[in-house]
Subunit: 202 residues, 2 copies
DNA sequence: CTTGTTTTTGAATACGGGTTTAAATCTTGA
DNA sequence: TCAAGATTTAAACCCGTATTCAAAAACAAG
């Protein structure tokens, strides 16, 4: 075995690819961009990966997994549905226009219409996020904290949709809609949908 | 003067570029793709346009203008705010996964984070659509048809955001969210936000 | 038909893409 | 230290890119 295991090396490349994609776009990124980001030569990259396409898919896949797992972890210890909901909304939005995780996701929006693999990744992520919200909404409803105006599935889908859209607006540097404003906008919907003022104590 | 005026020729090229972009992506499209779509050679394209970049920007710009103007025209003769709102929601969504207008818009989502021109185009379109919804909401509120749960600006921003996001889901071929389902989801929000059942007579 | 102009082509240019491969380097285990 | 193996490089390859340009074609007016 080598100092760095084969899979570790691939993790490095995936991370380099992630950065390169953000810089040049999923369809504009090149082998040399990835290699430069990894401090290697294009040939070395191809030594660990059969071709560029697979590396890019892995990078996008890993980015999504990371994004989703991070959101779950953020609310893992919480019990209050209100706090859970508010924190989840925040965690679905970019921290700013250059947020790397959201930038990576946004790269796929257009490509998904042309690439089955990317479409599947995006769709799966969307559905998992919907399930996440749905679980929060339902427990809140069961506890009497929330009084849902619609089926929890409808509200959850809309919440994820709002996150997605404001993620795009923020990364496109909308002059007035930043992370804080986006949270307020989504919260406005969440309040009417749950019948809860959604004010956290701290 | 020639048979086709210079500007007419550019319109043809813009339309060819639009199709080529949809096929290959904003960052994956090439001069030959556009030329082929126009039935010309790459040299002939460059005879009418100084470079590929400007042609692509023009194509995106024209596509957005067309999209927005079409939406305005759809509700131009209507007086009932309910009908206006419902029709507007429909007109903001793709007719199907291959809807060319929405496909074109979605291409820019990722590129806007890297390209100022594209970011400006998208942001401007968003703001104009928000204003469009806001006008509908306010007149409905003044007539007593709507009882808004929030500031009209908040609701309008959320409605456009929902359209955008479901546009992405539809073009990515989500297995259960199609145009009709997206309309229902957005209408669910619109109903609670306006306090109106939003049922049109026909 | 001929002339003058606009448009299109096809080739040339120069550069960059992904991928392959032989040689060089680095790393590990004995 | 030495040999075997894994890793990296650098160069070669071929294809495709945007752009330029001279020549050809298409066209309008006289």
């Amino acid at each position: 075995m080598t100092r760095k295991s084969r899979t570790d090396r691939r993790v490095d490349l995936i991370d380099a690819a992630r950065r390169a994609i953000i810089r040049h776009g999923t369809e504009g990124v090149g082998l040399n961009h990835v290699a430069e980001e990894a401090g290697l030569t294009s040939g070395a990259v191809l030594y660990h990966y059969p071709n560029l396409g697979e590396l890019l898919v892995d990078a996008h896949h890993a980015g999504m997994e990371r994004f989703y797992e991070l959101r779950l972890k953020r609310i893992s210890g919480m019990r209050d549905p209100v706090e859970k909901l508010v924190v989840t909304i925040r965690s679905g939005l970019p921290h700013g226009p250059d947020d790397p995780d959201v930038r990576l996701l946004n790269e796929l929006g257009g490509a998904a219409a042309r690439n089955r693999m990317y479409a599947l990744l995006l769709t799966t992520l969307y559905d998992r996020q919907v399930a996440m919200y749905q679980s929060i909404l339902e427990t809140g409803g069961a506890l009497g904290t929330f009084t849902l105006t619609d089926d929890s599935l409808v509200i959850a889908r809309n919440l994820v949709a709002l996150e997605d859209a404001y993620g795009y607006r923020i990364t496109a540097r909308h002059p007035v809609i930043g992370p804080d404003e986006a949270v307020d906008l989504i919260l406005a919907y969440a309040r009417t949908a749950t019948g809860n003022p959604l004010k956290t104590s701290h």
